[in-house]
Amino acid sequence: MMDSITNFLSHFFVTGDPMIYGADASIALVSVAVLAVLTYFKKWKWLWNEWLTTVDHKKIGIMYIIAALLMFFRGGVDALMMRTQLAMPGLSFLNAEHYNQVFTTHGTIMIIFAAMPFIFGLMNIAVPLQIGARDVAFPFLNAVSFWLFFAGAMLFNLSFVIGGSPDAGWSSYAPFAGIELNPGVGQNYYVLAVQISGIGSLATGINFLVTILKMRAPGMKLFKMPMFSWSILITSVIIIFAFPAFTVALALMTIDRLFGAHFFTIAAGGSPMLWANLFWFWGHPEVYIVLLPVFGIFSDVIATFAHKTLFGYAVMVWSMIAISFLSFITWLHHFFTMGNTAPVNAFFSISTMLIAIPTGVKIFNWLFTLNKGRIEFTTPMLWALAFIPNFTIGGVTGVMLAMAPADYQYHNSYFLVAHFHSTLIAGTVFGIFCGLHYWWPKMFGYLLDEKKGKWAFWVFMISFNICFMPMYFLGLMGMTRRMYTYPAGLGWGPINFIMTIGAFGMGIGFAIMAYNIVWSAIHGKKDTTGDPWDGRTLEWSIASPAPEYNFAHIPTVSTRDAFETMKEEKRAGRAKPPAPFKPIHMPNNSGIPVIMSAFMFVAGFGFVFWWFWMAIPGVIGVIACLIARSFVYDDFHHIPVDEIERTERAAGRLS
């Protein structure tokens, strides 16, 4: 009896590694500390009322960003562990099992639990404000999306200490990811955690598509929208078309693993190649889901700090539309070497190269926005400027990879790893950090410190180059990705060592940024005007931080740079006197999203361990929440006029 219990526990909790005990201890300590602080300061009610049950898009956005920053930290620690292990030939800092888990969690967390939620956070904050709306189209669904992501992220991270992490790579190729070759719960965590957060992502896509199509301020035609909102509109469409493929693929793999089906197995006519097709049919559009939004951010930021309208606005929009279309017909470039005939590879080579055309057009339009501008080197602008050359390197190497016969030599090597980090870091990460600094005052009412922000930028950007430029050569030397070690004598040591130095430099850059966030929370400069950057779009026309209802009056829009035009009119003395306030219709808070996601977590955890006694009640709980919600009839309230008046006066908006 005792034996079987200890045996169970030693499999349940991951044991035998000091790093994992360290993680156990720190998770326990942090949890206790958080609980203690909340209890001591009597903050439980505040937490529940203001945050856990909120349906306010701005608060949901902030929660996304906090969670995504934590996930960046986790993914970054994974990256540093990998780089430490690879710093020199033959090290044994991590063994093969650990390294395999770490690169898998690094990739999965960075893409699904860090980059995408961060972007969701920024779009939650900025899109309704940019289009002059008071909330998203489906505020309740928005909260559900967030909490599903959160439940998925927690479930995925739990695998580090309970049961063991997945180790089949973020792409989880069958048959290796199947139950025959990969028994244990790790891969179950992958399929279930990613599925749970994926449902939330799909809902977010639908939500923002409807929001942008239906809730723009009067006068804001589609072709008068700010570029970030345009990019989110297109991204939402990509999400809606791409995610179902992944949902299905994950569901099939779940059925394979939990119930012994044979969709992707070696046995019984399963087709491993089907997984590759389904995965990349989602996976390639996914990289544009994390890239197009930052194109939008850069467009707005570059226009703002060049103090010019965006150059070639319509072309910029059409380029994004072209990219989104092409992104669905290139997925096979991820497996040119999987036995396709020459015509098939030729088609996908060319379709992939074609993406370079609209992307190149966008680069030149950004450059010509800067041309004849009055460039102001603020922190967000530095991130945007650094994006241009660094991302171009990722783009041109992408074209090189698109040439199938050449890809036979690059595929799965460090050349590939270098390429996708050049796009994911110089594109997505630079863009996220850019947007974070840019919209920070709108979220919190004070600015991040510029000096520290610039330090973080330079350290991170230079280290990025030290880490990833040499990596291209390493790939050409024949080092493949996902190797946990390499022997001496191949000449790979020095380059790997340089890369590790760069990786730690990036860690330092991130730490400076984290320090800046803490420092600025205490000493940051207040943003009293609501328009700290001399912005051009509507989010800067309201107070910072944005009031609950966003706009006391819904603005009327006549030009692309709506707020710039308002300011010009004001300077010319043509501003209209404000109309009297009217009560504002707002959605009610709801505890159902967070409770439902908790049930989802329970169900997911049960399925991971094949514990149906736990999974089924979890599923029932989810259904019960859905039913309960359908009986909620009065889900809104009105903010009375005197409260609006009080808020506006406190923000200095009423004279």
Partner: protein, 313 residues
């Protein structure tokens, strides 16, 4: 501001320069040792030239606008400069041209690689009059099995080929997917359990070339390496007959041992049992060992036999 920006850019580029000048011999892909790798190398160099051009143009404009319009009191500020048809058409057409210049050789090379390379040496006697050599490759977690179907021998984790002779590798996987890559001789192909794939390679001259799996397959993946030994016709014949005469036969039991997931030393066998030549995958082998028919496990609609039209699709 601008000055520090440029200085910091220069610092960032230093390690790159050091690399470029240092060690190009080490860079396997840029050091092709056979016609297939050479063809790919030419394509790579061509794309590198075109792409450096693109990068250079972007960098020049980038630096120009920053220097010119990044100063406090720069002249020429024009907030109404919002578009320029002519320019926009230029930077639409130039990328299209570049794409065409890259696509044409890409497609040509794609088709060319389906054909065997031209032999540059006389065929060894062990090929029995054939002008090419065929080798069946099976990836097993975490080792490489090489079978010479015409010479009837088998090796593990190394393969000997005649220099200057086109070699067709027929690739299979027993369990996990892997990829067969010998960078100095040519690009990779996956090995899969449900479809055989073909890869032509040829070595210019005798020598040893490192190969490794390039698709992750689990714990022993990093050690899943092999050596391709190209030999003169004479040495190749001698090697074949020495294996045939001096090495043990691969027994069924020994074969089953090799199929266990582990890493092993290079080895060679003078013959192999009939079951080896069936290229069963793990599921099929398990069925056979349980006394069932393996056929029901194959992929419907695909020819799983040896001589099948493998690698299509």
């Amino acid at each position: 501001m601008i000055k520090t920006f440029k200085m910091k850019m220069a610092v960032a580029l230093l390690p790159l320069l050091a690399l470029l000048t240092g060690c190009s011999d080490n860079i396997a892909v840029l050091n092709p040792q056979g016609p297939v790798a050479r063809e790919q190398y030419h394509l790579i160099v061509w794309s590198l030239i075109m792409m450096s051009l693109v990068l250079a143009i972007v960098l020049i404009i980038f630096i120009y606008v920053l220097v010119r319009f990044g100063r406090r009191k720069s002249k020429g500020f024009d907030p109404n400069d919002t578009g320029n048809r002519k320019l926009e058409i230029i930077w639409l057409i130039v990328p299209v041209l570049i794409c065409i210049l890259l696509a044409v050789p890409t497609v040509k090379t794609l088709y060319a690689l389906n054909q065997p390379p031209k032999a540059t040496a006389a065929a060894p006697a062990a090929l029995n009059g054939s002008k090419t050599l065929t080798i069946d490759v099976t990836s097993v977690q975490w080792k490489w099995l090489f079978r010479y179907p015409d010479q009837k021998i088998e090796t593990v984790n190394y393969v000997v080929i005649p220099a200057g002779i086109p070699v067709q590798f027929r690739l299979h996987a027993y369990d996990a997917m892997n990829a067969f890559w010998v960078p100095e001789l040519g690009g990779q192909q996956y090995t899969m359990t449900d479809m055989p794939m073909k890869l032509w390679l040829q070595a210019d001259k005798p020598g040893n070339y490192d190969g490794r799996s390039s698709n992750y397959s689990g714990r022993g993946f990093a050690q899943m390496t092999f050596t391709v030994m190209a030999r003169s016709a004479n040495d190749f014949d001698n090697w074949i007959s020495s294996v045939k005469n001096n090495q043990p036969a691969l027994t069924h039991a020994k074969y089953m041992q090799l199929l266990e997931p582990n890493t092993v030393k290079p080895q060679e066998f003078s013959s192999y049992p009939a079951i080896v030549a069936k290229d069963f995958n793990k599921a099929q082998m398990d069925a056979v060992m349980n006394g069932e028919s393996p056929e029901k496990d194959s992929m419907p609609g695909m020819d799983m036999g040896n001589g099948g039209k493998g690698g299509q699709k």
